[in-house]
């Protein structure tokens, strides 16, 4: 049974503000995020903005393999976000720790600490993949609003 969306929920799908959290990435994903905002792809067409404070954000974009030092910070930032919000893990490292799996300084994958809604694979992901990930994240949020069970959360 699909519920009709409230106007504030519809608006959220039209203006996802993104907070970018690097948890010890090699900076390649972070550079690639800028490609989505610059003229060739221009994610502002869909209302996407990078914001400076997790309090303002609707989407938490996590990059990197989450080092031991970053782990408590990731938890803290996720707690600080205003609900409703979604979490996107971007890049091979934040999906399954990539080449850092089993390393002494990256004890846990990101999704063991905070609930991840969408994964974007790639090292780094292409801008097209990131935009697809954004669309999927918005679909996940929409389904959450409609009260449906999420079937396939993997990209």
């Amino acid at each position: 049974m699909k519920k009709n969306l409230k106007i504030t929920q519809k608006a959220l799908l039209k203006s996802p503000w993104v907070f970018h959290l690097s948890t010890g990435s090699c900076n390649n994903c972070d550079i690639e995020i800028l490609d989505v905002l610059t003229p060739r792809f221009d994610a502002e067409r869909f209302g996407v903005m990078l914001v400076g404070s997790p309090r303002h954000a609707d989407v938490l974009l996590v990059t990197g393999a989450m080092t031991r030092k970053a782990l408590p910070r990731v938890k803290e930032v996720w707690k600080k976000m205003a609900r409703p919000c979604a979490v996107v893990a971007m890049g091979a490292c934040s999906m399954d720790q990539g080449i850092f799996r089993g390393a002494y300084n990256t004890p846990d994958p990101v999704d063991s600490v905070i609930p991840v809604d969408v994964y974007i694979p790639g090292c780094p992901p292409k801008p097209e993949a990131m935009i697809l990930g954004l669309v999927k994240a918005l679909e996940v949020v929409k389904e959450k609003f409609q009260g449906e069970k999420r079937i396939d959360k993997m990209l």
């Binding site: 504030t8 959220l12 039209k14 610059t38 502002e44 209302g47 400076g52 404070s53 309090r55 303002h56």
Partner: protein, 307 residues
């Protein structure tokens, strides 16, 4: 009843809010086109506000919660009253009161005060840093802005917005004289700081101190702050058009010309915004107390000599 209509529908909340949303879109779209991007759809600012209204409001654990919630409301209310006084003097000049120019001037500085109070109430170190910068910026640009607003007062010999408008319709626009033109130039630079646009977005500085005073705000209070900022986009240029540039006139041609003038002032602000990187606070204070104050003061001197 009329007062309520004026404050809530025209020219208050609904009308000015709609104009502010459209101008905010104009700002973002023009910025995007200047950077060779496509830019957002026209209802983007409204979607942002609607979304924020549905988000959770997080209150600071330490710090003053009543002040934290009261500050955005005070800022919004002040801009609405200021816009109402300006429109009143434009539509019914005889209804204004002596010194309404000064009242508008002070009401328009309340949003900055609200930002300072709200930021300080959130007990966040970055917010207090931003609030401190906002105080310094306020001190910096109020002096030249007040000096440049004295030029129309001297020329028209009246402290009423209605009197300044009557003088302009009789003797031509203030900006048509040398002193008026210099004063308008100084006021446009102050407007940039009042709207919080780069190079004077020092208090919010998203990449540096994570939105400064707004850092702890979320949900509806943040929406009110964003809405106040949108409202300033039509209100501040309209104030300058009223004081320096003939107001909105009485014919349809005059109204259209006024819309074009407001758009021109906003376009100037967007162009300055997109071509200048953020200044440090000390550079901004030096800029406003140095060149801009000298510009405004020389305009005032010229006005006193009748030029």
């Amino acid at each position: 009843m009329t007062l309520l209509f004026n404050l809530l529908i025209f020219p208050g909340l609904l009308f000015t809010g709609f104009a502010g949303g459209l101008l905010s879109w104009f700002d973002r779209k023009l910025s995007a086109r200047l950077q060779w991007r496509r830019g957002p759809v026209w209802f983007q600012p409204f979607a942002d506000l609607a979304k924020l209204m549905g988000k959770e409001t997080i209150l600071p654990a330490e710090g003053s919660r009543p002040l934290f919630l009261f500050a955005p409301v005070a800022g919004l209310a002040a801009v609405l009253v200021a816009s109402w006084i300006i429109w009143l003097s434009l539509l019914r000049p005889e209804m204004g009161f002596v010194g309404d120019l000064i009242a508008v001037f002070y009401l328009l500085s309340v949003p900055a005060l609200a930002l300072i109070v709200g930021g300080s109430a959130s007990a966040n170190p970055l917010a207090s840093l931003g609030a401190g910068r906002e105080i310094k910026l306020l001190l910096a640009y109020e002096l030249p802005l007040l000096l440049s607003l004295l030029v129309p007062v001297v020329q028209a010999g009246s402290l009423r917005l209605g009197g300044i408008l009557a003088h302009q319709s009789a003797a031509g626009s203030i900006a048509g004289s040398w002193s008026g033109l210099l004063a308008l130039a100084a006021a446009v630079l102050c407007q940039q700081a009042k709207l919080g646009l780069p190079p004077f977005d020092i208090a919010e500085a998203e990449t540096e101190i994570s939105s400064g005073p707004l850092i702890e705000y979320s949900g509806p209070p943040l929406a009110l702050f964003k809405f106040t900022k949108m409202l300033m986009l039509p209100v501040m240029p309209l104030f300058l058009v009223t004081v320096f540039w003939n107001g909105i006139g009485s014919s349809l041609g005059g109204h259209l010309a006024a819309v074009a003038k407001v758009l021109a002032l906003v376009t100037a602000a967007v162009l300055i915004k997109n071509t200048n990187p953020r200044l440090r606070i000390d550079q901004a204070v030096k800029f406003f107390w140095g060149p801009v104050t000298i510009l405004a003061a020389s305009a005032l001197l010229l006005a006193l000599f009748g030029l």
